[in-house]
Subunit: 397 residues, 2 copies
């Protein structure tokens, strides 16, 4: 018998499996190239060329028991130092290696952060629509997720509702900009206003409220938009970063946490987070990949490829009559379902071999997410199918 | 403020940090080569030569978005299939890829197993001396660790005490053979007798009792001893494996779980474990390393190097007058402290620049652990120091 806490997950995962199996079935009948799968955030843009050569150079130059061995649970000090200096150069911060903790991707980093901070019954505030895994991560530590309803149609964070939602039990607020699933980027003024509210509430309740900035999409931005570095606006900020998207290395599980000196209880937070990395079973971020990301600190994937997809899909869909805000970052489009029940809309789209994710998965029903980290041809070929779906919708009204 | 659950860890980790700092201080005064550090289980034997070439070949031949991308949370199917067939060839089992789940090392695998099985207040039985992290892993899921006292001096599992300790709340029993910290290997008869007890108790309580075989040291055995494959003796067995020691890749965090078809509630266990891998933040085992361990399925580190260390340290210490059972596996010697308080003994040894771990860390006071995964010279040079410590002990009695 599995744990009771896992029973609902097992039920949920058979639904996801059913969706995958349906996709595979369609691919078998119509050919893989004729199924337009927008369901997964798995980067289709190759990692930068330098990655491969960097791995080979590191293998040729490093002593193998050092390269593949245990290091400090927080990661290699020189790697952490390289990352700190890179951030300082970009953002005018003053981090050192003691502010950086290498993690098993952003998902590992968030779990380390939650384990470090959260006691059962603590509250974590999140803005809908949000990445559904946050709910599981909070549940891992018995914490309560407090969801702020979506701010339609801009999907900017609703700061009035934030202020109302903070209680003496609020231990953390998660933000995710550039956002999955909307592609929205939070402007500097928004971050400033948010910081003001959090500072006021910290004083009011005499508590620490940590702002967790989950930033795996930081580098994927368009039209020259800038993403404010949150530690500069609010002292109790922890940044979670991942190279999954910026270097297209999601399978390698490599990322880091930024734990600034200004954090309340800084020494204990660092010590607890380093310990959490160990006792949660990560132990340390994969060793060779730590050295690779430091070696390739100035590399990035070609964002132009995603941008071309973004323009083509956004323009194509709005021209057909779909409603959608134009994303400024990440590789998702959050489209308004032309009928109220977006699950039914997903079913209709699937009949036309287009796979979408219902907004309910992000606590925002009535919308669907399209991940455009796919081949350009998939977008071009999916647009006529999306037009057919819209025509069907119009007929049925 | 950090979580209350992390406070005791933070206190404990400052003690460990103090030990490391003391080691670093001694190394600074006397030179690194004159400090004999037996405290860490970090392999000193290099990974097999094939590993490096395998990584390069894989980089040259695999499409990079496949190689570094997301795959099924359980791991690449072909990798899991290669491992299943390898186990079948070695042990006469009948595993397929559906029985293998790739994990972030054995520590990741154990956390996935615990998350899958354990509800708060469930009991997990462990035999002292045991790897101290088991206590943290059980605590992560609110479970209670039930410790069976050490069976001195053989350190074989006390099966009478096992039988007495099983209750209706017992969800799992952990065994670790070859053992950290004793080097003991459990014989086939022991496993058979254990299986009989567990079967009897399952019937008595109408429960499932899972036997978790934590086997990172399986390949490190000496004198031709064989390590029984536990799934063949007891249906409800889950094996946790790691390449950290067999291929000297501890920093890379690569291992797997074996979930046999015969497990109670098999389909749900597999589904829950795959989900647990995701929601605990591992997501998947590092992708390139999955492909490397499959490519190097027949490789192993040179165990002769450890064996030479084992013989020299064991013979040297017993000749001086220390008491110790000769380990049959792993790379640890568990030595009886010649004075009752082994912490005091560790302090005395440190004065002679020998770093040991007190047995209390493994729930077995009165003993110390020496990790002999060190340079051969360290052993040769430490023996005179250990002789001096013994002479001091004799004078003080």
């Amino acid at each position: 018998m599995i744990a009771k806490s896992m029973e609902s997950y097992v039920k949920g995962s058979s639904a996801i499996r059913a969706m995958f199996e349906e996709g595979a079935r369609l691919a078998k009948i119509y050919g893989k190239e004729n199924v337009y799968d927008f369901s997964l955030g798995n980067p289709n843009v190759a990692p930068p060329e330098e990655i491969k050569q960097s791995i080979i150079n590191i293998l040729e130059s490093e002593e193998p028991t050092f390269l593949h061995g245990y290091m400090n649970n927080a990661g290699y000090e020189d790697v952490r130092n390289t990352i700190a200096e890179h951030l300082n150069k970009l953002h005018g911060t003053r981090f050192t290696e003691r502010n950086i903790l290498m993690t098993v991707g952003a998902a590992g980093g968030l779990n380390v952060t939650f384990k470090t901070l959260l006691d059962p019954e603590d509250e974590v505030i999140v803005f809908a629509p949000y990445f559904g895994e946050y709910r599981s991560y909070a549940a891992n530590y018995g914490a309560k997720l407090v969801v702020i309803p979506p701010n339609i149609p801009t999907f900017q964070p609703d700061l009035n509702k934030l202020e109302e939602s903070i209680t003496s039990q609020t231990k953390a607020v998660i933000i995710n900009s550039p956002n999955n699933p909307t592609g929205v980027v939070y402007a500097e003024d928004t971050i400033k206003e948010m910081a003001e509210i959090l500072n006021k509430k910290q004083q009011e309740f005499k508590t620490d409220i940590y702002l967790i900035a989950d930033e795996p999409y930081r580098e994927l931005v368009y039209d020259g938009v800038s993403v404010p570095y949150v530690t500069k606006y609010y002292k109790n900020t922890i940044v979670g970063y991942s190279y999954s998207k910026s270097l297209s290395l999601p399978g390698e599980r490599i990322g880091y946490l930024v734990l600034p000196d200004e954090l309340s209880d800084f020494e204990n937070v660092v010590s607890a987070a380093t310990t959490a990395n160990r006792i949660l079973g990560f132990v340390n971020a994969p060793s060779i990949m730590q050295r690779v990301v430091a070696d390739c600190i100035n590399s990035a994937v070609d964002v132009n490829i995603y941008n071309k997809n973004r323009e083509t899909l956004y323009n194509g869909l709005t021209e057909i009559g779909y409603e959608c805000i134009k994303p400024e970052g990440a590789f998702y489009l959050f489209v308004k379902s032309p009928i109220e029940d977006e699950n039914e809309f997903c079913r209709m789209a699937k009949e036309h071999r287009v796979l979408l994710v219902p907004g309910s998965s992000f606590a925002c029903p009535g919308y669907v997410r399209m991940a455009y980290c796919v081949a350009y041809d998939t977008i071009v070929n999916a647009l006529p199918a999306m037009r057919e779906v819209m025509e069907e919708v119009k007929k049925s009204v």
